[in-house]
Point group: C2
Chain length 275, copies 2
Amino acid sequence: MSDGRLSVNQETIKQWSLPELAEGCVKAGIDKVGLWRAPVQSYGVERTARLLSDSGLSVTSLCRGGFFTAPDPAERARALDDNRAAIDEAAALSTDTLVLVSGGLPEGSKDLHGARERIADALGQLAPYAAERGVRLAIEPLHPMFASDRCVVSTLSQALDIAERFPADQVGVVVDTYHIWWDDQAPAQIARAGAGGRIHSFQLADWITPLPAGVLVGRGQLGDGSVDFRAFRTLVEAAGFDGPVEVEIFNEGLWARDGAEVLAEVASRYAEHAC
Amino acid sequence: MSDGRLSVNQETIKQWSLPELAEGCVKAGIDKVGLWRAPVQSYGVERTARLLSDSGLSVTSLCRGGFFTAPDPAERARALDDNRAAIDEAAALSTDTLVLVSGGLPEGSKDLHGARERIADALGQLAPYAAERGVRLAIEPLHPMFASDRCVVSTLSQALDIAERFPADQVGVVVDTYHIWWDDQAPAQIARAGAGGRIHSFQLADWITPLPAGVLVGRGQLGDGSVDFRAFRTLVEAAGFDGPVEVEIFNEGLWARDGAEVLAEVASRYAEHAC
C-alpha cells in the first residue's frame, strides 16, 4: 500500500509508548519514524536508539530544537546549550535532521525583524557543532497564527532567507503542508529550496476547521481537509526531493483512538492522497 | 486626545445599539464610525443614515460584501445580488467603501487558485455597478488562518494581484493590522497599494494569544498584543494614505463591558499607540 517512503511521526500516535510505536510500525510494514525529544528522553536516548535499531526502524527527524528569540543573554545561553543537547540526541538516534521551531516574540516585544535576526545569530553558533555530528538543522516555518508565541518564521521564504546564510548541508528547511498550504508563494519557494538542496524534511498534515482553542492540536488526518497533498508532493519531487514523507498530525481525536487503527488509517490515507 | 482621524467600527462595541453608538461617539468627540450590514438592516438602512447624519457622524466603511467563491451558478447569482444590495446600502449610508471578505474554499475543494479567480470574476461584474453609485470595493486580506473557511485572499500581495485588474477608484484593499502584522512582505505591499491609490481602508486590531476556539473573536485591544501600530501607520502614510483610521476589534471581553468605557479605552489606546 505504501511506496516505502512513509515515515510516521510519533506525535501522530502519541497514545503509544516508544516500544508500542516500534512494534506497531514493524507490524504495519512501516520502517521510518519521526521522534520528539520529550518522549525519547523519558524512555532514554540510547535505549530508544537500540529499540529502533533492533526493530529495523530509522529515524527521519527529531523534533525539536529552536526557541532562539530571547534577548536575555542567560536565557540565550540556556537555549544554545539545550540545542547542543538536541543535536547530540539527534546524532545518538542516527537521524540527520533536527527540526527547529524558532521561537516567538519575547514578552512585550513587537520586533519581528529583531527576533528573526537572533535566530540567524543562534544558527551561526550551532550549525558547525551540528555539522561535526552529521546533523542538519531544519528551520520549520510555522503557520502565521503561531508568529507571536511559537515561531516568527512564518513562510518558506522567510525560512530560506535565514537558511541561505549557511551551507545547505548545515541549515535547510522543513516543508510542512499544514503550515504553508495557503501560501501562493509556496510553489516558487519549494523550487528555491530544492534548487539549493535545502528541503531537509517534508511533513504532511491536513488543514481542518474549526480550529480548537489555542490552535495547536487542530491538525487534520490526511484527506479530511483543504490540503492538496499530491500537488505538494509533485512540487517537492520536481524540486529534487526524494526523501521520506513524514506524517505529523496533532489531533485529540486521533489520540483518543486505538493506536494500531490510527496507524492503519494514516498508511491508507497516505496511499490515497499523497502517493 | 484624538487626532481627528479615529473611526470606531461598531463591532468593537457591539453591545451598543446604533442610537447608543451615535450618542456615545458624539459624547466622546468621535465623528466617524464603521458599520456592519446586519445591525444596519435591523435598524433600517435609511433610518441609520438619518440617525448618523443628524448626529454629525460619517461612515468610513460598510462591512461586508464578498463570499464570491461558490462555483454553483445559482449560488453565485445569489452572492452577486447580495453584493449589489450591499453596494446600495453603502451608497445610502454615504460611505465610499464597501469591505469585502472574499470567501473560503467551497465544500470539498482544495483549489485556492480557482477560488481566487472566481473572486476576480465577481469583481468584474460588481465594480462598474459600485462605481456608478460612488462606492469603492475594498478587498480585505484575512489572516491565513481563515483561508479555508472565510477568505482565500490571505496577503496584501494576493489582494493587490486581484485589485490591480480593475481601476483604482473601483477596487482597492483594506490594510488591517490584525491580518497582516506577521508578514515581512507587508511593508512593500503597503507601498505598492499606496502608489496605486488602492489603500481604501486602514483598520487596527491587536494580535493576542491564546486564540479562542474558532479564532474569530480573539482580537486584542490596541496595545495588548504584538502589533506595532505606529510602524504600520507610518507605512500607510508614507504610501500616501491620509484617510480615517478605523478600530475594529472582535473580543468577547470588550463586548461584556460598559460601552462608554470601551469607547474611552479605544480612544485612549489609539492616542497612545497609533498616533
